[in-house]
């Protein structure tokens, strides 16, 4: 849908853009949509030539925290029209199920990336001011007076173009080439689980379309019912379980999920495509800005997929960036000010979330404070409601803990006395 609108051949070599966005996936396209709507000129450089390309290893879960962003971007309606589900989340713990009262439980979004990515890319391609360059890879970053100022890109025929821009945006994922070339500081945190997942048809899990996650502590697995009556099943065991999954991914996944408490009917289903895995998921947290340059989505923060935050934060960080640099790109302030505002916003919104996520990604079991909160949330609907608001990333840990911990202590004390 997009490649015919703006074939790369018509791009003027001397063209200067307000922003060049590297990566035409969720975060990159969402940024392009917003900047384009603000009347700016944006080039999106995407190495996949196919407009229908999509990320394969992804639970595709969009947390409720990102739903307002999707609404503002005008994406929520088309997503629902394409068959997207609006799931709540239920969590199995050894203390019981954590289920917020239905009226208080937040709803995320579930649409397979196979449908979601082309949909978002198509809307970006149709946005005035946005030029999609599919099949182009970044060769190097351009610089002007020490600031980053666009990219040199090469297509599959070997043709190279310089795309000059006031703002360069890296939206190219966990292994971001832009981040690598710009040498922004990066912190890594070990990940001692691995992930396998796949789409199954037949046999919907209980409470579909709501998503279910099992915190087996330290093992983890989940069922995400999605469009077209499919279910994405995922397991994230600790690395000692890897050999059985490597040997027979589908058999191991089916076995794992069918042996958990109140198991979903995975054995009644059929995998519609091969079950695939990701073994190295080292958490990466990069400084999201450099002079003339910003990182968004996984390029800025590639964190544990266990909590299903990647897609949602891709949309949200694109919005924080667009809002932060908008005035500068309109010529009302310096870009430096805009980027600094984005950096602060990114850290403010996600810093503490990332801290807790990275700690649990070591493969450890729940710590005493987490056990306190999980157990109380399983026993008390009000605690479950706060837990849900936090788990769906609508509030930050600093907001969740003061509300949850005193209540959790009281709930557990009552529970102990009642026994």
């Amino acid at each position: 849908m997009s490649s015919t609108d703006c074939p790369p051949t018509i791009i003027d070599e001397e063209a200067a853009y307000d922003a060049v966005v590297v990566g035409g996936s969720l975060a990159g396209c969402a940024t392009a949509i917003q900047l384009g709507r603000a009347g700016l000129r944006v080039a999106v450089v995407e190495k996949q030539p196919d407009p229908g390309a999509y990320k394969r290893m992804c639970s595709h879960f969009v947390q409720a925290s990102a739903v307002p962003t999707l609404e503002r971007l005008g994406l929520l309606e088309p997503i629902e029209a394409a068959g997207g589900e609006r799931p709540r989340v239920r969590i199995w713990t050894r203390w019981g199920w954590i289920e917020a009262p239905p009226e208080r439980a937040a709803r995320g979004v579930n649409l397979r990336r196979e449908l979601l990515d082309p949909l978002v890319r198509g809307i970006a391609a149709e946005t005035p001011g946005v030029e999609m360059m599919l099949g182009w890879s970044v060769e190097r970053l351009l610089r002007e007076n020490g600031d980053f100022a666009g990219v040199a890109a090469r297509n599959r025929e070997g043709e190279e173009r310089e795309l000059r821009a006031r703002l360069t945006v890296g939206a190219d994922g966990r292994d971001s080439r832009v981040a690598e070339l710009s040498e922004v500081p990066v912190k890594t945190y070990p990940h001692n689980r691995f992930a396998y997942g796949g789409y199954f048809e037949g046999g919907a899990p209980a409470n579909a379309p709501d998503a279910t996650a099992w915190f087996l502590d330290p093992q983890w697995c989940a069922a995400f019912p999605t469009d077209n009556d499919l279910t994405f099943y995922a397991a994230m065991p600790t690395k000692d379980r890897l050999p059985e999954f490597k040997k027979e991914p589908e058999a191991a996944l089916v076995r794992f999920l069918s042996e958990v408490p109140e198991a979903p009917p995975i054995r009644a289903g059929r995998a519609i495509e091969p079950v695939i895995g990701k073994i190295d998921m080292t958490n990466r947290m990069r400084k999201p800005v450099a002079p003339g340059l910003a990182l968004i989505g996984d390029a800025a923060l590639a964190t544990d997929p266990l909590f299903g935050v990647g897609c949602g934060w891709a949309f949200q960080s694109s919005e924080w960036l667009a809002e932060s640099v908008g005035p500068a790109l309109q010529g009302n302030e310096s870009l430096e000010q805009g980027l600094e505002r984005y950096r602060r916003r990114h850290r403010h919104e996600l810093g503490a979330h990332a801290f807790f996520i990275h700690d649990y990604a070591t493969g450890r079991k729940l710590n005493p404070a987490e056990r306190l909160m999980f157990s109380a949330a399983a026993r008390d609907p009000k605690t479950a409601a706060i837990f849900d608001t936090f788990g769906t990333r609508q509030i930050r840990p600093q907001q969740a803990m003061p509300r949850m911990i005193p209540r959790a202590i009281a709930v557990n004390a009552r529970h102990a006395l009642a026994r």
Binding site: R94, L216, D217, P237, R241, E244, V260, P261
Partner: protein
Amino acid sequence: MSGGETQLPVERGSLLAGGTRTRLLHAGPSEASEAVVCVHGNPGSADDWTGLIAAAASTGRRALSLDLPDFGEAIAPAGFEHSVLGYATWLGEALKELGVDRAHLVLHDFGGPIGLVWVAMNPDALASITLIDTGILPGYRWHSLARIWRTPVVGELFQATATRPAFRMLLNRNEPRGLPRDFVEAMYDHYDRRTRRAVLALYRDTDDPGAAAAELTGLLAPREIPALVIWGEEDAYLPSSYAERQRQAFPSAEVHVLPASGHWPFADAPETVERLLGEFLAGLPADSPAA
């Protein structure tokens, strides 16, 4: 326990074997000479197996369990040897009494060493083996509770002070999901003076539960015995890392480590364990014609 939900009735009877009158739980064709034989651990009794006997019998097989002497309601005769060898010998006598020539053993906990020693004495009589949180344990170091039982005076003191609430707390402390209340209560009901003495004797006689690992592996591995291994990942007594290692003795073993289970998966994940055992037995060749 989940026995109440299964359709096949599990019958209760009794048996006199080796001077011990014991309870017998059984289902399926009672004349068959090939049977699924469940051997409990410590603390445990024939009752542990109600659900699994029904699951096994639903594959058309004879299935049974017994109280080991001085466990459950069985009273051992004077002079009974509370050792792995003593119990294995008694198991052999009981199976003879029951007319069982070939056994599909289902073993748990201390039932593992006992059953495996019986296998060493009767290797041709083993049709298949299901190991639940037990098996061949090379290099195993006794868990802390066993070390207490094995220490003179300390062990007696511990047994004397194991009140019902203490027992309940101690057991559940180590279980990731907690055990069903009825299961724990029944276990304590059977954990009487006689059982407590038997436990001390049995653990004190067993210096190294992994002692014969190499010999057993050498004996069993070439025989290609169909095997099912089920282990609770959170087992606090026998680490689940042993699950995969059972393949050394049973190369074709199907290994399932249940991620949210403890030492008694048949109590905290009965549906899964019953399904796995049912599928495993159903997948085996039909019983020999002599049955």
